[in-house]
């Protein structure tokens, strides 16, 4: 599903340039459940943004589901973000003025589906994350766990096979954090690929594969025979 070859990302702010990623080689198969850990500044979020086509690498090759990402136009990247990748953020990143329903509807709207089909999907998704009764609520009227579940429903809106979560439990208490991880686990059991950044070793332990980043490189990787991790 994901093939990365010596991926580099350099942030250049005129006088100062900063190498966030210094050469990442990574293969991810279908239906993996991966935790990415590492100290802050090790490049976890940068890597995740590249995986989700939110950003483009400054070097290396990235194949996502058979597409050479470097060659894609900004519209094609937008379409990948819309249909093939689902993002879940630590800060939820819901539109604050929009209801749960409208937040989940947004990606389906951009996919160009008709109102009737949108309604069917949004209702189904919010039901799946247990928020059928909170559809008309705005994020400000919800708890952190509920907001994150709305965000997950939104990530699933166009039924992507790859779910990327950047510290999804970072702003949550243990109980609601646990619920969120349960949902991710369920998504993985449904056959999706789930990649998650986390600081919580307990959560990391529940994942099938653990990738540790350090200084913009993969330090250890316990899966997929890359040869540089624990097996």
């Amino acid at each position: 599903m994901i093939e990365m070859k010596s991926i580099k990302k350099t942030y250049d702010t005129g006088s100062v340039s900063f190498d966030a990623l210094k050469g990442i080689d990574l293969d991810v198969d279908k239906n993996e459940f991966i935790a990415i850990v590492g100290p802050s500044g090790s490049g976890k979020s940068t890597l995740m943004n590249l995986m989700g086509c939110l950003d483009t690498p400054t070097g290396g090759e990235y194949m996502l589901e058979g597409n050479r990402v470097e060659t894609l136009s900004s519209n094609q990247l937008a379409e990948i973000r819309n249909r093939r990748v689902g993002f879940v953020f630590q800060a939820f990143n819901l539109l604050p003025y929009a209801t749960a329903y409208e937040n989940v509807e947004l990606p389906i709207l951009y996919a160009g589906l008709k109102h009737k089909e949108r309604k069917r999907r949004v209702t189904e998704l919010l039901g799946k994350v247990g928020l059928a009764d909170k559809m008309a609520n705005k994020p400000t009227e919800m708890s952190g766990g509920e907001m994150q579940r709305v965000a997950i429903a939104r990530a699933l809106a166009n039924n992507p096979q790859l779910i990327l979560a950047d510290e999804p439990t970072g702003n949550l208490d243990t109980a609601s954090g646990g619920e969120i991880i349960n949902i991710f686990e369920e998504l993985w059991r449904d056959g999706r690929t789930v990649i998650m950044i986390t600081h919580d070793t307990n959560i990391a332990k529940r994942c099938q594969r653990l990738i540790r980043l350090k200084d913009g490189r993969i330090d250890t990787d316990n899966g997929n025979g890359n040869g540089n991790g624990r097996h």
Binding site: D55, N75, L109, Y110, N158
Partner: protein, 419 residues
């Protein structure tokens, strides 16, 4: 790009920004109202001027004698050319392209008496056609000189409304004057009508309201002036006034033996040409007013741009989220452009409505003023509406475009980090 996506997202975003949008709306409303009212003022003025300039007559050329400036056929230059009464028929016969040809005698300082009132006035000998070509319209109860008066050389007089006031007093209604006898140099004339007051911008040899008009034939029989003071012609078509004038010079030149290219042999005043000049001045004034109004609207549009920029800053995260879930750049771009256009058009619509209501109210307002007689009352026309709409469209688009380009160029990862 799918327009329904853009519209759906826009209608959702609009709801939450009511207050900000409302304030911007008011700015646009004000700007639109300003430009509309200024243009309406110009339009009213233009219409009034065109109405006023028709007081003298519409589409006519006034012709009078001159002095040659070129030697011709053995004659030296500086020879006076006078028009004669037979020239009216002479010109009419040779130039079928002329609809009307008439002549006019003028005599100043004629003693005019009614009862014990004795004043010195100007008397004109005229053709009946002055009723239509020079707007000598009689008040109710009276009439203008007619062909029978001409044929019978009747001693009848048609009075300008000011002459009537001087002779009979302003309190006497015009219809009561009809049938009265007045004396011109001690010859009795019957008053047959009084001119309906009109606004007259241009004039030659006095205002029409001061006229005492008697039939052309009567004038000649009584006073026996050897020369015509003026001739007036009105062509059937107005698109070749210069060509017709050239032909008139050829025809008259043949009779009086002057060089047809000698433009000083006869003097002319082309009302159509003058009207064109006045029209251009009016367009200039309207343009000027439009620019002032446009600048007012521009300031409002800058306000819109400003608010859009602020709104982008506030919504950076939102833009990031939208991009993360798959919004194309064009959707972000369109969102801001449409928002700006939406505000502009909504404000513009209200502004137009306000301006329209104001001008309509002003139209029915019972204000009597000489200034209004000349300046007219503000009038909204379809052209003004279209002009303002186009200006609004351009300004709204520009107001939205630059903020929108900035918004669409935001990097989604940075936008998501933005607090």
């Amino acid at each position: 790009m799918n327009p329904s996506i853009i519209f759906s997202v826009f209608s959702r975003d609009f709801k939450r920004q009511r207050k900000r949008m409302l304030l911007t709306l008011v700015a646009i409303l004000w700007g639109t109202m300003s430009i509309m009212l200024l243009l309406a003022y110009g339009e009213g003025m233009k219409q009034q001027f065109s109405k006023n300039s028709k007081g003298l007559g519409d589409g006519i050329v006034i012709l009078w004698g001159g002095q040659t400036s070129k030697p011709f056929m053995g004659f030296g230059k500086g020879r006076r050319i006078h028009l004669h009464s037979e020239d009216v028929d002479y010109l009419k016969k040779r130039m079928p392209e002329l609809d009307v040809v008439v002549g006019e005698y003028i005599r100043w300082g004629v003693q005019v008496r009614h009862g014990k009132k004795l004043i010195s006035e100007r008397v004109n000998g005229l053709y009946p056609q002055y009723e239509t070509i020079r707007n000598f319209i009689p008040e109710m109860g009276g009439r203008m000189i007619n062909q029978l008066d001409m044929d019978l050389k009747r001693r009848v007089a048609f009075l300008g409304n000011d002459t009537k006031d001087r002779l009979f007093g302003p309190d006497i209604p015009p219809e009561d004057v009809v049938g009265e006898t007045i004396y011109l140099n001690n010859t009795p004339y019957t008053v047959i009508g009084v001119m309906r007051p009109k606004i007259q911008m241009g004039s030659y040899q006095g205002q029409d309201s001061d006229v005492i008009a008697i039939p052309f034939t009567t004038f000649f029989a009584i006073f026996g002036d050897p020369y015509l003071d003026n001739m007036i012609y009105k062509p059937r078509e107005f698109d070749n006034m210069a060509g017709i004038e050239k032909r008139v010079f050829e025809v008259m030149g043949a009779k009086y033996r002057f060089n047809p290219t000698d433009d000083r042999a006869l003097s002319t005043w082309d009302i159509v040409e003058s009207a064109k000049v006045t029209g251009n001045i009016m367009i200039g004034i309207q343009l000027f007013l439009g620019i002032i109004g446009g600048l007012t609207l521009l300031i409002a549009a800058v306000g819109v741009t400003n608010i859009m920029y602020v709104s982008i800053k506030e919504r950076t995260r939102e833009i990031g989220v939208k991009m993360a879930v798959g919004a194309r750049k064009i959707y972000i771009l369109a969102q801001f452009v449409i928002e700006a256009l939406g505000i502009t058009f909504l404000g513009g619509l209200f502004g137009m409505a306000a301006a329209y209501i104001l001008t309509e109210l002003f139209k029915i307002a019972p204000i009597e003023s000489q200034v209004l007689d000349f300046m007219g009352r503000p009038t909204v026309s379809l052209e003004i509406g279209i002009t303002v709409t186009v200006i609004l469209g351009i300004l709204g688009f520009m107001a939205g475009l630059f903020p929108a380009m900035k918004a669409a160029s935001i990097n989604p990862t940075e936008a998501l980090r933005y607090e």
